[in-house]
């Protein structure tokens, strides 16, 4: 212990620290940061995905911004975001508070709830595509008229299906976040409310919901920003159709780039995707103050 004095100067081993971080930095920079810069650069070029890349100034941007497909894709993206948020949030809060309860059977239900979280979007979309088939699906098999519609063939229905399947996949995850949030609410708050004669519903609205404020912001941020990147699910389920009813931004980018070989305009859409995501994240941050962890520190 007293050998401290006999050791070589402390500075020496410290200097290897940046080298320890170097491998992560190199891989991350090479395949995430450079592509992010690259997509911006590519939006000022013309490229068919195979041949040479030609700088072409604002051509791609002009093409994208004057295309009526863009406002439509933005609108669909916004709708998917807003509707799936409005569907998922109350459900996740309810299920989260339910799961936070103590009864054993809730934990058992929980085991089933979280299965969708582990499945790939492609698998989920394929199962639903088969299940919703108007001729061979579940509804048709049960001979129930209301359930055997052309779910993916009519624009309004297909949009509803996308929102439903998105919720099916992600509600469990958000319930999990809410479950954690509910369990952190001090029990004494409820005991005090009970002494004051507040009922269960009253307690939910005046204790649980306000106490979940930061959880709601965290979950909403993940939902909203995450909804920009729904690709796998919609691609496999509807391919953006019928027509362009479910053609969200990410899908629009893929189709222009990899199906129509217009990498320039597709890159411009990718830039828009990044900007929209950034704007939303900042907006939600401003709305909510900070994320949960930071705000607790500030309060202390």
């Amino acid at each position: 212990m007293s050998a401290l004095t006999g050791r070589p100067p402390r500075r020496e081993p410290r200097s290897i620290l940046p080298w320890l971080a170097a491998p992560a930095l190199v891989v991350f920079a090479g395949f995430a940061v450079i592509p992010l810069v690259g997509v911006f650069a590519l939006s000022f070029t013309t490229w068919d995905g195979i041949g040479a890349i030609q700088p072409s100034g604002l051509t791609s941007w002009r093409a994208v911004l004057t295309d009526p497909g863009l406002p439509h894709a933005l609108w669909v993206t916004f709708l998917v975001m807003a509707v799936s948020w409005a569907v998922q949030t109350p459900l996740s809060i309810l299920i989260g508070t339910f799961l936070a309860g103590r009864q054993r059977y809730r934990a058992v239900l929980g085991v089933v709830y979280f299965v969708p979280v582990t499945l790939s979007s492609a698998a989920i979309a394929l199962a639903y595509k088969a299940l919703l088939d108007p001729n061979f699906g579940l509804g048709a098999g049960l001979r129930i008229q209301a359930l055997s519609q052309d779910w993916l063939g009519r624009p309004g229905l297909a949009f509803g299906v996308v929102v439903f399947v998105v919720s099916w996949q992600f509600v469990p995850f958000h319930s999990l976040i809410y479950q954690g949030g509910v369990q952190q609410i001090p029990k004494s708050l409820y005991e005090a409310a009970q002494l004051d004669g507040a009922g269960r519903v009253r307690q939910f609205f005046s204790i649980t919901l306000p106490q979940l404020k930061y959880t709601i912001i965290t979950s909403s941020t993940l939902m909203v920003v995450g909804s920009l990147t729904f690709f796998d699910l919609i691609f496999v389920l509807t391919e953006g159709g019928p027509g362009d009813a479910t053609r969200v931004l990410a899908l629009d980018m893929y189709k222009r780039g990899f199906q129509a070989s217009l990498m320039g305009p597709a890159s411009a859409i990718a830039v828009i995707l990044v900007l929209v995501g950034l704007a939303l994240a900042l907006l939600l941050r401003r709305l909510g103050g900070r994320d949960a962890g930071a705000s607790q520190l500030e309060g202390a």
Binding site: F31, V111, S120, V236
Partner: protein, 298 residues
């Protein structure tokens, strides 16, 4: 002395202790709305899963005539045979190679970076790196896929498994560094000090002290990344072309394109591709779920 993800979460799971004491008030404060939503959601989740599973064992010829919610009287493995004969073992191996090939370096590099960031917080370079990784959390994979495609072509890696491994590794790093740094930060300073007094280098301290003490977090991050990469669809779609480089989710999609009318076979393929993840879920449910929320719960 170590705070592990399971331990920090334990208060929630401490059902046994909690159940005995306040069981009375809990019974009085019955949560009807929550209970109803809970059971309804159970049905909503369970029915498609159940339907998928039982249908995958039905013979195609009899599938249309049978009640869709009743399991087949004489279950058949025919559908599974068809799926396995369609090269699914190959796709399975591809998925394993890509997942392992990306997760191992991603977690290893992230852990080294997390250690460096926590231990070298005084250095401006390392704080800047931390900032870069934090910013990286906001980069959507979709938005970068065109330049990634270009880079992969230029590296002459197009249509190969390394083409999938490299970007998958890169996109696993930011969250892994963030989560692991949180846990390395929890290792008591005195332990680091005593290691140094004993003359250990940073390299030995990293492996002998920090790694064992953060093992649960490493496991959590590993599982989370493995799940994400295993289920990845966009990168294989864009970066591969030939059938023998397909990973499972992409193979599933092309299989549906070929056998779309054979619903039981498609569903057997769905079940087969999700089986490994479900086995993982059955054995490591707690780690897996804590992995999912690891980035946000702290």
């Amino acid at each position: 002395m170590t705070t592990t993800p399971t331990e920090t979460r334990r208060p929630q799971k401490g059902t046994h202790r909690a159940r005995q004491r306040p069981s009375r008030p809990a019974a009085r404060r019955r949560n009807w709305a929550g209970g109803l939503a809970g059971w309804l959601w159970f049905v909503v989740v369970a029915v498609p899963l159940y339907w998928t599973l039982i249908t995958s064992f039905k013979a195609q010829s009899r599938y249309y005539a049978s009640n869709p919610l009743v399991p087949s009287a004489d279950p058949t493995l025919e559908n599974y045979r068809l799926v396995l004969e369609s090269d699914f073992l190959r796709y399975f191996v591809n998925s394993v190679v890509v997942t392992a090939g990306a997760v191992v370096p991603a977690v290893l590099f992230s852990f080294m970076a997390a250690y460096a960031i926590v231990r070298g917080w005084r250095m401006r370079t390392l704080r800047a790196m931390n900032g870069l990784f934090l910013m990286g959390l906001a980069i959507p994979l979709q938005a970068t896929v065109i330049p990634v495609y270009l880079i992969i072509i230029r590296l002459r890696l197009y249509d190969s498994l390394p083409a999938l491994i490299l970007p998958s590794t890169a996109f696993a790093i930011p969250l892994s560094v963030l989560v692991l740094a949180n846990f390395v930060r929890d290792v008591p300073k005195e332990l680091f000090d005593s290691m140094r007094v004993d003359g250990a280098t940073e390299w030995t301290t990293l492996w002998r002290l920090a790694a064992p003490l953060t093992r649960p977090a490493i496991l959590t991050v590993t599982i989370f990344n493995a799940l994400t990469i295993w289920n990845g669809f966009l990168l294989p779609l864009v970066l591969t072309q030939s059938p023998d480089q397909r990973t499972l989710p992409l193979a599933l999609w092309t299989f549906q394109g070929q056998y779309g009318v054979n619903v039981p076979a498609v569903l057997a393929a769905v079940v087969l591709t999700t089986l490994p993840v479900l086995v993982l879920y059955a054995f490591g449910r707690r780690q897996l779920l804590s992995g999912l929320t690891a980035g946000f719960s702290r």
